[in-house]
C-alpha cells in the first residue's frame, strides 16, 4: 500500500468518482455534493484485480458552501476491464440533513403543474439558476453521479457542467419522470460530452436512472 500526496491527480480523480457515487446514492432534490478537499490517499495495487484507492475527503454542499461533510471511501478500478464500473464503498461522518419537507413541497409543486415542466441551460451562461429550478438541478446532479460512476476510469474526472435541456414526462403512477440532456465536462481530455438521462424520482423511493446514453457532439448544435 503506497501513501499518495492528497493533491496528486490520481487521488483527486478517485475522490471525485467517490463523490459522484455518493451524490448518486444520497442525492435528492435538496442536496448535491462536490469534492472540496482530499485529506488522505493511499493506493493498493492488487495483482490480477486492479488498483484500489483508500481515501479520506471532504464534500461541500453545492447549495451551501459552508455545509461540509467528512467521508471515507474505497474505490477499486478493475484492471483491464474499462467497461465495468469501479467498485465504491463509502462512509459518511454524521447524519445528512433531512430535507423531507422540501422534497414534499417540490413533489407537490410539480404534480400540480398544468403543463409538463420544460427548461434549458441550467445554470445559464452567467451561472444563474432560478430558485424554482434548484431541485431540478439537484436531481440532475444526483442522476449524473450514476452516469459518472458507470463511465469513469483512473484517467478520467467528470463533472456536471450544465443541464442543456430538461423535460418532464407525465406518468400515471406516483413517480416523477424527467428527461434530461446534460453536459459533462471531462477534466483530462477537456471534452464537453452531451448525455441523455431518464430520471425517476419519488420522495419515499429516491432517484433512479432508467435510461442513459452518450450523445454525439453535434447534438449541441
Amino acid at each position: 500500500m503506497a501513501e499518495l500526496p492528497p493533491t496528486h491527480g490520481p487521488a483527486s480523480r478517485a475522490a471525485a468518482l467517490a463523490t459522484a457515487y455518493i451524490s448518486h446514492r444520497h442525492g435528492s432534490p435538496g442536496h448535491g455534493w462536490v469534492l472540496r478537499d482530499v485529506r488522505r490517499a493511499r493506493r493498493e495495487d492488487i495483482d490480477g484485480i486492479g488498483h484500489k484507492y483508500h481515501l479520506e475527503f471532504v464534500l461541500e454542499d453545492i447549495f451551501e458552501k459552508d455545509s461540509t461533510v467528512n467521508c471515507t471511501a474505497e474505490v477499486l478500478y478493475h484492471l483491464g476491464n474499462e467497461k465495468s464500473a469501479p467498485d465504491v464503498q463509502f462512509t459518511i461522518e454524521g447524519e445528512l440533513e433531512n430535507t423531507d419537507e422540501a422534497h414534499n413541497a417540490f413533489y407537490n409543486r410539480i404534480q400540480s403543474l398544468k403543463k409538463e415542466l420544460e427548461a434549458e441551460n441550467i445554470p445559464d451562461s452567467y451561472g444563474n439558476v432560478p430558485p424554482e429550478m434548484q431541485p431540478i438541478r439537484a436531481l440532475a446532479w444526483a442522476a449524473s453521479g450514476y452516469v459518472i460512476w458507470q463511465n469513469s476510469t483512473e484517467n478520467t474526472k467528470y463533472q456536471l457542467a450544465q443541464i442543456k435541456h430538461v423535460k418532464q414526462v407525465k406518468r400515471t403512477d406516483e413517480y416523477l419522470e424527467f428527461d434530461y440532456v446534460i453536459l459533462l465536462h471531462e477534466n483530462v481530455s477537456q471534452e464537453i460530452i452531451p448525455w441523455q438521462m431518464t430520471v425517476l424520482w419519488h420522495p419515499q423511493h429516491g432517484i433512479e436512472v432508467t435510461q442513459n446514453s452518450c450523445q454525439p457532439k453535434h447534438a449541441l448544435d
Binding site: 496528486h8 491527480g9 463533472q159 457542467a161 450544465q162 453536459l183 465536462h185 483530462v188
Partner: protein
C-alpha cells in the same frame, strides 16, 4: 527637513478613473501625409484597410496617390501604432489636428450641460469583447501617465489583440511581469480578473506604497483576452467553447487549443492530433497567430521578464512547471515556496483553499502549455492560476462570485509580485515599505529635528 514634514503629512487622495461607454473623438488625431513612392502608397492603403482608418482625403484607399495629399483620422488607441508603422516605413507625416474632439467642442454651440455623465464600468459583471475593447481605450485615456495600450498581434479572424502596459514614468529600464487572461474561451472569470487587477492597481496607486514601490522597478504587462475569437464565440454561439477559431479540414472542424500550441515539448503528451478534440495541439508549434503574437513579444523582452502568469479556471490551483515532464525545473523549491505563500494569502481572505504543485503531478501530463514554454525559455517565475470554483458551477461561475474571487486572487498575485520585487530589487526606501511604518519614522524624524 521640510521635505520630511511634507512627506509625513502627504496623504494620497485617490480619484478612481470613471469612464463613459459613449463614442467620442477624444485624442483622435488627423495626420497629413504626402506619400513619395508606390511602395509607400501601398503600405498606406494596407494600413487604412486593415485598421479601418477614417480617410478624410481622399475618400477611398484606391485613390491614394504618390505626391498627393493624404489626410487620415486615426482613433486615439491606434495613434501610437500607426505612427510606429509610418516610422518603420520611413513615411513622414505632420499632425494636422492634435485632438479632433477639441475641435468638435469648439465648433459645437454651447448647450446647458456640455459634460457627458460618465457611466461606471462594472467590474462585477462579465463583459462581451466589444465592451472590453472600449474599456481598454478608456483606461488608457483616464490614466495616461501610467497606462499605455499596445498592439500585440491579430487573431485568426483578424481581430486586434491588445495588452496594457502599466508603467511608472521614469528614466530607468524596468523589469517586467506579464499576465495573460482568456487563453481558453469559456473561462470567463479569467478576463474578469485581468480587468479587476488593472482597476485595483490604478485605483490604489496613489494610496498604496507597496504598489508604488514595485512599480519603481517593474512594469506590468496585462493581456485581458488572448483568445478573442473564442471568447466572442462563447458569448454568441457556444458557451463552453475552449479553443480558438482556426478552420481545419476545409472548414469542417474548428479550433486549436492555444495552451497546447506553444513550443514546449509540443505535440508529445496530453494532446490530440485530431481537430475535433478539445486539446488539439494545432498543425505545428506556434501554428496559431494568437500563440505567435504572445511568443514574439515575450521572446523579444525575455531578458527583462521576471515572471509569467497565465490565468485560467476552474479548479483552485496554482500550478508550477512542468506539465510535459515530471522532471522539476531547477528553481522548483523556490517556485513552490512562493506559490504556497501566495495560496496562503489567498485563503486568508475568504477561506478558499487552493492546491499548489506541478501540473504533471497535480493534474495530468500535457505539453505545449504557455507556462511551460515561458519557464523553458528562461523566465524564472512561471505560474498557471486556475481560479474558482471546484466544479459546483465550473466554467459558468455566477457573477456574484466575481468580486470575492478577484479579491482573494489579487492577494495571491500581489504576494508573487512582492516576492519578485524584493528578490531582484532588495532594500529600497524605508518610507515605502509600509504606510504606517513610514509615517511613524517620518514623524519621529520630524520630532527629532524639532527637539534638537
Amino acid at each position: 527637513m521640510l521635505l520630511f514634514l511634507g512627506m509625513a503629512f502627504s496623504l494620497g487622495i485617490l480619484i478612481p478613473g470613471k469612464f463613459s461607454l459613449k463614442l467620442q473623438y477624444d485624442g483622435d488625431q488627423v495626420l497629413h501625409i504626402v506619400p513619395e513612392t508606390l511602395q509607400q502608397v501601398q503600405h498606406l492603403q494596407h494600413l487604412c484597410s486593415t485598421l479601418l482608418l477614417d480617410l478624410w482625403k481622399p475618400l477611398l484607399p484606391e485613390d491614394i496617390r504618390a505626391g498627393e495629399d493624404l489626410h487620415i483620422r486615426v482613433p486615439a488607441p491606434l495613434v501610437q501604432e500607426v505612427k510606429d508603422s509610418l516610422d518603420q516605413h520611413t513615411i513622414s507625416y505632420k499632425i494636422l489636428i492634435h485632438d479632433v474632439q477639441e475641435l468638435v467642442d469648439q465648433s459645437t454651440p454651447e448647450t446647458s450641460s456640455q459634460k457627458q455623465i460618465p457611466e461606471s464600468y462594472s467590474y462585477t459583471q462579465y463583459h462581451p469583447m466589444e465592451e472590453i475593447y472600449t474599456w481598454m481605450a478608456q483606461i488608457q485615456k483616464n490614466n495616461s501617465e501610467l497606462v499605455t495600450q499596445h498592439y500585440l498581434g491579430e487573431t485568426v479572424e483578424n481581430r486586434t489583440i491588445y495588452y496594457l502596459q502599466i508603467s511608472q514614468p521614469s528614466d530607468k529600464t524596468k523589469k517586467i511581469i506579464w499576465m495573460d487572461c482568456g487563453i481558453h474561451a469559456r473561462e470567463w472569470i479569467s478576463p474578469a480578473f485581468c480587468q479587476w487587477f488593472v482597476k485595483e492597481i490604478l485605483q490604489n496607486y496613489e494610496s498604496d506604497p507597496k504598489i508604488r514601490k514595485f512599480l519603481q522597478n517593474i512594469d506590468l504587462y496585462i493581456l485581458p483576452v488572448l483568445n478573442i475569437d473564442g471568447y466572442i464565440y462563447s458569448w454568441e454561439t457556444a458557451r463552453l467553447w475552449r479553443k480558438n477559431r482556426s478552420p481545419h479540414m476545409n472548414g469542417t472542424c474548428y479550433g486549436t487549443d492555444l495552451n497546447r500550441n506553444f513550443n514546449s515539448s509540443w505535440g508529445t503528451l496530453g494532446v490530440s492530433y485530431n481537430c475535433s478534440s478539445e486539446i488539439f495541439c494545432g498543425t505545428g508549434p506556434e501554428s496559431e497567430p494568437e500563440t505567435r503574437a504572445v511568443v514574439q513579444l515575450i521572446e523579444r523582452k525575455k531578458s527583462d521578464i521576471l515572471c509569467y502568469l497565465t490565468i485560467h479556471s476552474y479548479g483552485q490551483y496554482i500550478l508550477t512547471p512542468y506539465g510535459s515532464t515530471t522532471e522539476p525545473p531547477s528553481n522548483n523549491e523556490e517556485l513552490m515556496r512562493v506559490a504556497q505563500t501566495a495560496a496562503a494569502a489567498l485563503t486568508e481572505k475568504y477561506g478558499t483553499s487552493y492546491e499548489v504543485g506541478p501540473t504533471s503531478l497535480i493534474l495530468y501530463s500535457n505539453s505545449g502549455s504557455s507556462r511551460d514554454w515561458a519557464r523553458m525559455i528562461g523566465i524564472p517565475f512561471s505560474y498557471t492560476f486556475e481560479l474558482r470554483d471546484k466544479g459546483t458551477y465550473g466554467f459558468v461561475l455566477p457573477a456574484d462570485q466575481i468580486q470575492p474571487t478577484c479579491e482573494e486572487t489579487m492577494l495571491a498575485v500581489t504576494a508573487i509580485i512582492d516576492y519578485v520585487d524584493q528578490k531582484y530589487f532588495p532594500g529600497g526606501a524605508t518610507m515605502l515599505t509600509s504606510g504606517s511604518l513610514g509615517l511613524s519614522l517620518c514623524l519621529t524624524a520630524v520630532l527629532t529635528l524639532i527637539v534638537t
